[in-house]
Structure formats: structure tokens, C-alpha cells
């Protein structure tokens, strides 16, 4: 019976370092592939928009070094998707550089590295829009229009399995890819090895978050997937974790809209028929997943655009009278900003911790009685000087709030420090859309080079 073993050491390479003990245990099992995804939208729109990493390079290096050394030792491919958090060309080039440095450091024998790029240039999409093509919005977003496209700073296309398979066919030993479906990073080598689509795609889905599929809850521990013709077996490599039918089923729904259907480039996984079965205390077998191809091949586009420069100011309030009349205090602050800057051309938010700082409008407790509150004033403006001034004005005016009945007329606010903190600029997810392609490879560029042997 055909069997393919895939080692998944981390759900987000570089975000926090891989645990080494369970990783090496996994390597001892002689996997056929070592795969990891390195990207996420959870980090917000800033890293993609500004095209910067969200993870420290030291941690990225740590994880890449472990995987590279194990992959070369076993002489099996190592596959990385969504390089450096964003999966932009910057991320691919950064990881490729790290791989080359590591090859030199460890005097590794020559190997073939594939880099797969996923950046999409604005004018490519602009031309397609001008030709009348519809780029449909996901989840109720309207179709992409020119205005939204032009205020976007960076766009990536989310690749499916095809670019990876192409790289494997060409003999890649190491694949560093840009933005990818998490599932594709694992499904591609399985498909290339002859595992049927029904199992390969589902296996990708359960393996992509590594130890999150097992219990008790733990991150960054390695998990081994054993894939066969009609089943996938999940086996955690750490001593203390177990993959149970429930932990594996629970994972099917983790951070996904729907626990039964998972949409991917070119099709979807149907998990309605999945049967989860405990093999023993530690391992669970899953059968019955399906993969269906869609008639048209659609690829997701992700884009982020800058809204403005952003500053924060931290304000504390302890006076119960002011807390009880907080809405009026905030109104005062807002009014002073309006007097200086007018009604529009900036954005101003008051995050009131102690009231609804975490949940905002979703907070069901409407009238809490905290003994103190902390307010983060968030000011956004087209340029940094204005953002600073705006945030100072809004924050300092808590000190001067004029409310009839205030006893503490020497100041109605406490500051840790009378200062405005310059934050990352504000960005927004402008594009979450689907584009039709004739060829699954058409938005992606694959390059090969020989590394090592120096």
C-alpha cells in the first residue's frame, strides 16, 4: 500500500520558535516531506500593506535551520508556504537568502531550491478591470473597482497546489513559496506522490496547524501525518499530546467559517462524510473526506491599503463622577478636536478599557460600574504631524473636561506620561476577492537555483 509521511512542525513558521524535541522525534520517523506554512491574515493588514515581516528574523532562521538540516540529512523535500508572514516577494527573497546563508554555514552539499512568487501588480488587475472583467468580492464585498484597487498598496494571490507540484516535478529539494493556501503546502507533495485528491486535500487541512490538531492544547509541537490511499492518520510527536477523534474533528472547524466545507483554489473539501476513529491513545485515523473541483478555477486575492498615520495616547480616569459621565467627557474631547480640525479628514477612536475596550459594539454589558477606566485614544491622519497633534488634543482634553459638578478641577485625567505614542500606520484589508484564471500557474512565477556546495 502506498504511504506518504509528512512532518508538520509549526502552524506559522517564525511566529514563535518550533519546539525541538518533538521535531527531532518526527525526523526520526523518516518523513517523506517536511512542510510548514509561514503566513497568516491574523496579524492584521499592516504587514502586507507595508510589506514587512511580523516575526523576528532570529525565530524565522531558527525554524528554517531545523527544517533545512533535517531535510538535507534525510534527503527529502522541505516546503515552506506564505514566506515571512505575508507571502510577498519580499518574504520569499528573505527566506531564500536565509536558506543560502544556512547552506554556507553548514557547508551543505548542492541542492535545488525553487522560489515561487505571488505578488500581483496593480496594473495587471487594472488592465483586466478595464477589459470589463469582473473580480468578484468574497463574503458580500462588492466586485473590485478601480478606486479600491488604487488605494491598495500591496496585493498577493493565494496559490493552490499547482505551482508546488510544478516545482517538485522539476526536482526541487527546497521550496520557498509566496502566499499560499495553507492546505496546498501539504496537499501538493501528497498529490505529487500519488495520494488521491480526497485524502491529500483533507490531510493538508488537518496538518497545517501542527499540534493544534491534538490535545492538550499546545503550539509549535510537531505532528506526523501518515497518508494512504483512503485514509490519513494523525500522530503527535510530543510525549504529552494525543490526537483523538474529537481533537481532530474540533480542528476541522478551527478558525474557519464552516466546519463541513473548506474552499480552496480550484475546488472544495467536503468533510460531511468524515469518519474519525481512534487507533490507540495517541493516534486517530480519518476516512471519508471528499474533494470536488469547481468548473472554473478561481484564486483569492488579498490586498491591503494605507489609511493614514496613526498615534495612540493612554489616559486613565479614577473619579467615579467622571466615569459615570464618561460619554460626556469623550464628547468634550471630540468637540475640541472638531474645533481645530473640522468634521472630517481624520479618524478618531476612544477605546475605553473597563467598559467595552475589548468587544466594542459587541459588548453586551452596557452600563458597567468600574472603579477606574483606561482609555486609549487612537488618532489617524494623512500625515504624522497631524496625527500627533490630533491625538494630543484629544488625549489632553480629558484633563480639561468641563463638566458641572467635577470636584477635581486640577485635572480630570491621569497620564502614565504626557506623550503621544507613534504607532504603525493604519492599514485596511481592501481586497478579499476572487479572480478567474485559465491556468492555475498564471499569476505565479517559479525560479530555480542551485544552492550549497561552496
Amino acid at each position: 500500500m502506498k504511504e506518504v509521511k509528512i512532518l508538520s512542525p509549526t502552524g506559522h513558521l517564525g511566529f514563535t520558535p518550533i519546539e525541538e524535541e518533538s521535531f527531532w522525534k518526527g525526523v526520526d520517523r523518516k518523513p517523506n516531506f517536511i512542510c510548514a506554512d509561514s503566513g497568516s491574515c491574523d496579524i492584521g493588514p499592516y504587514p502586507l500593506g507595508a510589506d514587512v515581516a511580523a516575526s523576528p528574523e532570529e525565530w524565522q532562521k531558527h525554524d528554517l535551520e531545523l527544517m533545512l538540516l533535517a531535510s538535507r540529512e534525510l534527503d527529502v523535500p522541505m516546503i515552506i508556504g506564505s514566506a515571512s508572514d505575508t507571502g510577498t516577494n519580499r518574504g520569499v527573497n528573505q527566506f531564500a537568502r536565509i536558506i543560502k546563508d544556512l547552506a554556507k554555514k553548514h557547508k551543505l552539499k548542492p541542492f535545488k531550491m525553487a522560489t515561487i512568487y505571488a505578488d500581483v501588480q496593480k496594473d495587471v488587475l487594472l488592465k483586466r478591470l478595464e477589459k470589463g472583467e469582473v473580480i468578484e468580492g468574497l463574503h458580500g464585498r462588492p466586485p473590485l473597482n478601480k478606486e479600491t484597487l488604487l488605494r491598495t498598496d500591496h496585493i498577493v494571490a493565494v496559490m493552490g497546489v499547482e505551482p508546488y507540484i510544478k516545482a517538485l516535478e522539476e526536482g526541487a529539494d527546497v521550496i520557498i513559496a509566496g502566499r499560499s493556501s495553507d492546505v496546498a503546502v501539504f496537499a501538493a507533495p501528497a498529490l505529487w506522490s500519488g495520494i488521491p485528491e480526497d485524502i491529500a486535500f483533507y490531510a493538508g487541512k488537518v496538518l497545517e496547524c501542527a499540534s493544534f490538531v491534538a490535545e492538550p492544547f499546545a503550539g509549535k509541537e510537531s505532528v506526523l501525518g501518515i497518508l494512504r490511499e483512503d485514509e490519513v492518520i494523525i500522530e503527535p510527536m510530543s510525549d504529552y499530546q494525543r490526537a483523538t477523534p474529537e481533537s481532530v474533528a474540533s480542528h476541522a472547524m478551527y478558525e474557519r467559517i464552516d466546519p463541513f466545507i473548506e474552499w480552496l483554489p480550484g475546488g472544495y473539501i467536503d468533510m460531511r462524510g468524515c469518519v474519525y476513529e481512534a487507533i490507540d491513545e495517541k493516534r486517530t485515523r480519518v476516512r471519508g473526506s471528499k474533494f470536488y473541483r469547481t468548473p472554473e478555477y478561481k484564486i483569492k486575492l488579498e490586498g491591503s491599503g494605507k489609511v493614514g498615520e496613526r498615534c495612540f495616547m493612554i489616559v486613565g480616569i479614577r473619579d467615579p463622577y467622571l466615569i459615570a459621565n464618561l460619554d460626556r467627557v469623550i464628547e468634550w474631547s471630540r468637540k475640541k478636536v472638531k474645533e481645530r480640525f473640522g468634521e472630517s479628514g481624520y479618524e478618531l477612536y476612544y477605546h475605553v478599557y473597563g467598559k467595552n475596550g475589548v468587544m466594542g459594539e459587541l459588548e453586551p454589558i452596557k452600563n458597567p460600574t468600574p472603579h477606574e477606566v483606561g482609555i486609549i485614544v487612537e488618532g489617524i491622519a494623512p500625515d504624522l504631524e497631524m496625527a500627533k497633534e490630533l491625538t494630543y488634543l484629544a488625549g489632553r482634553n480629558f484633563l480639561y473636561a468641563r463638566l458641572v459638578g467635577v470636584k477635581g478641577t486640577a485635572g480630570a485625567a491621569a497620564f502614565i506620561s504626557d506623550e503621544v505614542l507613534v504607532a504603525h500606520p493604519a492599514y485596511e484589508w481592501t481586497i478579499n476577492h476572487l479572480i478567474k484564471v485559465n491556468d492555475p500557474l498564471e499569476l505565479f512565477e517559479i525560479k530555480f537555483e542551485t544552492v550549497g556546495g561552496e
Partner: protein
């Protein structure tokens, strides 16, 4: 029959982003029979969670009982994409606590092993 808060019956109650436009909630039960009873009697509904979060039921794009995990899952549409100006929870990871207090009335026979249970 006995009234029990959801927090005492669930092993896991969590929230998390599902992509950039949604937050998804998972309530995973500890006991299969308790789960089945709540499911059969529809003790937790889409309308109930819409009311808790003060949103219209149309904002809940999915609400299902998911048998393999003994779980209820629902997904809500964000008012703005994650991380937009004014964001309070970029990963959507702290939106679940109001679910703790959902009060459920169950037969005491089902609760014999649940006494003193705490959240997992």
C-alpha cells in the same frame, strides 16, 4: 430539571478570526449526552446568540451543531475587516465570554458528572 450556565458544561468556548471578514465561535461540550440533549431541544439557537451580541440574525452567516466534535459553531460577519482603524480585537480571540452565562435547563440525570465542572 436544573439550571446550569453554559460555562459549566462546555470543555472549550472560543472565538477566532475566520479570514479577515468574519469571527467564528466554537462551543465544544464535554459530555455527548449533554450535547445531544441541547441539540435535540435546540436550547441554543442563532436568534439567542444574535440577541447576546445585539446583532441582526443575518449577520450570523453560519450556525450549526457539529456532531463529530460535540460542538456548536457559529460565524458572524465583522462590521469592518480585522485590523481596520478603531479595531479592538485584531484576532477576534476575546469575543466569546458573553456566551459563558447562557443559562440552560437540563434534566438532573444528565448533570450527575458535571457537578463542580469548570471551563476547560
Amino acid at each position: 430539571m436544573k439550571k446550569v450556565p453554559l460555562v459549566d458544561l462546555a470543555k472549550t468556548i472560543r472565538s477566532k478570526n475566520a479570514g479577515v471578514d468574519h469571527i467564528t465561535f466554537d462551543i465544544i461540550f464535554r459530555d455527548r449526552e449533554v450535547y445531544e440533549y441541547i441539540k435535540q431541544n435546540q436550547l441554543i439557537t442563532k436568534e439567542m446568540v444574535a440577541q447576546i451580541y445585539n446583532i441582526s440574525p443575518e449577520k450570523i452567516v453560519l450556525f450549526v451543531y457539529f456532531d463529530p466534535a460535540k460542538a456548536i459553531k457559529f460565524t458572524i460577519r465583522r462590521s469592518k475587516p480585522s485590523g481596520s482603524p478603531g479595531e479592538t480585537d485584531v484576532m477576534g480571540a476575546q469575543q466569546y465570554p458573553p456566551l459563558f452565562e447562557i443559562s440552560l435547563t437540563l434534566p438532573e440525570s444528565l448533570l450527575k458528572e458535571e457537578g463542580g465542572g469548570s471551563k476547560g
